[in-house]
Symmetry: C2
Amino acid sequence: VTKRDPPYHHGALPRAVLDGALAAIEETGPAGLSLREVARRAGVSHSAPLHHFGDKAGVLTAIAAEGFRLLAEATRTALSTGDEFLEGALAYVHFAIAHRAHFAVMFTPALYRTDDAALTAARADAAQVLFDGVQGFLGPGREHEVLGGVLAIWSFSHGFATLWLSQNFETDADDTDAAVRLAAQSVARLVEAGAFPKPE
Amino acid sequence: VTKRDPPYHHGALPRAVLDGALAAIEETGPAGLSLREVARRAGVSHSAPLHHFGDKAGVLTAIAAEGFRLLAEATRTALSTGDEFLEGALAYVHFAIAHRAHFAVMFTPALYRTDDAALTAARADAAQVLFDGVQGFLGPGREHEVLGGVLAIWSFSHGFATLWLSQNFETDADDTDAAVRLAAQSVARLVEAGAFPKPE
DNA sequence: TGTACATCAGTGAACGCGCGTTCACTGATGTAC
DNA sequence: TGTACATCAGTGAACGCGCGTTCACTGATGTAC
């Protein structure tokens, strides 16, 4: 026997299923995803995924949870090493681009089970990273400003990532970092010019 | 005859189809939209929509185009009357909430035909409103700063709208305006605190 | 004014298809003694 | 070390369903003469 059949036990079927799903989502988006297509890509029978994930929503829930874990990891590193929030925004955008399938699923909650325990935990942790980052940046005594800061930074980063991914910015350049930097500098300029209201 | 049958000719079938589609999308999102469901809601045969829109993508393309027209209108008014960009951001967020079905379709280009003439025109016009607004705000002589300003304002507004709609901000309050204002004020605070890089 | 006819709007039966899920099953692994 | 058996992983046939699209059609409207 020179060529061995694939073993009956896959060994890493859940991972293969998730990878198949992610590949399919990268190509055609999460909307039309079918479990049978996922199984085809993973090279397993079309009912194998159900063994591990229960149903289709289970697969997408697992992807969303994994996405929040990856996002927390990426932003935690950036926020602890960088000295400006630009680092955090860059990490966020990089994550969205590098893991666009995860990103698309994470922010389309209609696709998955939002009450899943692992998911909500991962998501809360990712949010905590953001709150801790803003708190650490502002320093003690400014706790009441943290929520607003989170809203601001998150909106900016998320909006940029979303618009960039959906190709709404018609820049020829595909230098993401430069575009994020330009946008961030422009925020400062606009504040200076009075585009955003000053508090009080 | 006391009760008249509905006339054979509908009179406003295209509008009824779009409204049916919008209602369905508001309830379950644009992902699983089916033409037959749309026809059911519009009270017409399931092949009627095809007469006017060609196919499913045609319906969604029409919705996206209509959405960009509505968005241009809403932001044009806000940017010409308000004296701060906060007005523009508020208008953007209000649009996203009031027309969430349009909004969802507009920014999911995988759903429709991105090369449709009416669509691209409406979209270009909406973008022009934004560019004109930033240019008018900055004043003459600062043309090179416009692109960055557009990236910044649009990212902020779009990110806020998206995160708000997908219920990622866990605020109890549903006072959208207050939240947008808080976020905008926090942008100014963060710039002051050095979170965003200053140009040059 | 009337009539023939082209054109447009909308219908409903029919098609073929891929889907999610179920279910009884087989193969492989581990564990108790 | 061997053997019985429970457990877990994965298979593939089968189900019923709703879908998008096609197609020949019927009803209604407008227009030419």
